[in-house]
């Protein structure tokens, strides 16, 4: 898959503070999440990609060109900023329409697109109200509306779920998945791990200006050899299952509880053990009610990676 956004050996520093350190990344079509604690360099990376900053060293390329002050790149890019506000006396519709006019749409087309975007984000009933009267959630919806109104190829969203109620969060997550499915390149930065998992499985994990890991969450998890996977199995016959599993290689630790009807095991070969469990049920008439892995999620991956630094 060809890269839409490329960062090659990119570093960015602010005086003596390093914002990004020798980052090599490519982003293709689809949704990619940027994850990291405060100060990880996510906002710096997004500003480099959107052409608000220049790299101190290395090269940033968006659709084959440098994005800094580049109208050709900006024509195909939509940004949902984290903190940007709005002009005090403007209403939502006029604001989106004006930004569309800056994109080169004539007045009728800009007005039509603005209406559609405002409608899509659920602000139609308040489109004529001044933005200064909007709640935080409404402002966030408006930020999304102005970013998607011109149907860009690339969408960059900096903490898009901030200030949204649960319904709003669900809507935004659906929009992001939809954009990704439609072939757009979507870059999302967020702190909310479990919600990022609902958007995408492609992640870039950052801390202290460096990329710790990038790719599919499962792949990243699998590659973290230092930490075995935890697998939790609910079964009415925990002793029997535990005995069976003890005979296998690759087991790091195992424990079971008759009272809880549970077997807990740690292994560095989770896929192999999933197969074993399937065989246990199919060929040994074993009974298993539920299999879950509390580790196979973003938070566990992130925690392990941060701990190993």
């Amino acid at each position: 898959m060809s890269a839409v956004i490329e960062l090659s050996g990119v570093s960015r520093w602010y005086g003596s503070v390093v914002g990004l350190s020798r980052v090599d990344l490519t982003f293709a079509r689809g949704v990619t999440a940027l994850l990291g604690p405060n100060g990880a360099g996510k906002s710096t990376l997004l500003k480099l990609v959107t052409g608000l900053l220049r790299p101190s060293s290395g090269k940033v390329s968006v659709l084959g060109a440098s994005p800094f002050a580049n109208p050709d790149v900006h024509r195909k890019l939509g940004l949902v900023p984290e903190e940007e506000e709005f002009q005090a006396r403007v209403n939502a519709l006029d604001w989106v329409e004006y930004l569309l006019r800056l994109h080169g749409f004539d007045e009728p087309a800009a007005r039509e697109r603005a209406h559609k975007a405002i409608h899509d984000v659920g602000l139609e009933s308040v489109s004529r109200r001044r933005v200064m009267t909007f709640s935080r959630g409404m402002k966030q919806r408006l930020r999304i509306a102005q970013a998607m109104a011109h149907d860009p190829e690339i969408l960059v969203l900096d903490e898009p779920l901030t200030g949204l109620d649960p319904v709003g969060r669900r809507d935004v997550i659906e929009w992001i998945r939809d954009w990704g499915a439609r072939g757009k390149s979507v870059l999302v930065s967020s702190h909310i791990l479990h919600e990022v998992e609902l958007m995408t499985r492609e992640v870039v994990l950052m801390t202290a200006g460096k990329v710790m890991a990038s790719g599919n969450i499962h792949e990243i998890r699998r590659l973290i050899d230092a930490h075995p996977h935890h697998i939790l199995i609910s079964t009415p016959e925990p002793r029997r299952l535990a005995a069976h599993l003890l005979e296998q290689d690759g087991l790091h630790s195992i424990s079971f509880s008759e009272a809880l009807a549970q077997v807990k095991l740690e292994t560095r070969e989770p896929d192999r053990f999933y197969e074993l469990l399937a065989n246990y049920v199919l060929h040994l008439d074993g009974i298993i009610h539920e299999v879950s892995s509390p580790d196979d999620n973003l938070e566990a991956v992130f925690r392990y990676l941060v701990e190993t630094r």
Partner: protein, 256 residues
Amino acid sequence: MSSRVSLVALWSFSQLLFSPRTLGMAILATTPVLIALVYRATVALEIAAESSGPAAFSVLSAAVSLPFVAPMLALFYASGVVTDDAEAGTLHYFLTRPVARRDLLFGRMLGNLTIVACLFLPPFVLCYYLTIAGSGWQELGSHFPTLVRHILAASLGIFAYSGLFSLAGTVLKRPLLFGLFFVFGWQAAASIVPGAVRYLTVTHYMHSLMPHESFQGTLAGLIGPRSSTPAAILALLAIGAFTHAIAVWVFANKEI
């Protein structure tokens, strides 16, 4: 002019026109009108002796409108050419649109210049009317060239100040302090120091465009030769054009 520039200029102008800040600046801009009204009233009621209408207008123009109102308006609007959007939190929206940065800044500067002109010129012309009409309607016509000279000096001065303060607004964190220092510190000192220092001010060229009688009784009127009218016009245009151009270049390359 590119359509984007005019779009940005129109938007800036419309946003500024009905803002509370502009109301405050309008009060400042109309203060000379109030003084002219009081002058007219006191003359009509024979409370005060009448100085001639043209002289009164020259005083208001040379002592209030051109040295204070015009630079204050230019400073207020031009210094905010970037900081207004930065403070409002809207700058990143504009910087990520497919509009060349130079067009963005040109449009903003044009919008600002327009609002300054709209705030300054009507009260200025009204002052002329109030001060001179009392001397008779024929006086309005015969002194019209004086008004034209004053408007020329004011307009070119505003253009030059706007360029200077736009550049300050693009480069400095506190352009207001720079503007104050320039107008009330540097220019005030340079205007009374003999020598060539006065050529490094905007007021020298503005004064050169105004009728000489405007400066009777002032210290600035005593010292130093004036520049010729073509030289003063060229100098103000050059200052304005050069500083605007530098501001655009800085903004186009600046990381925000």
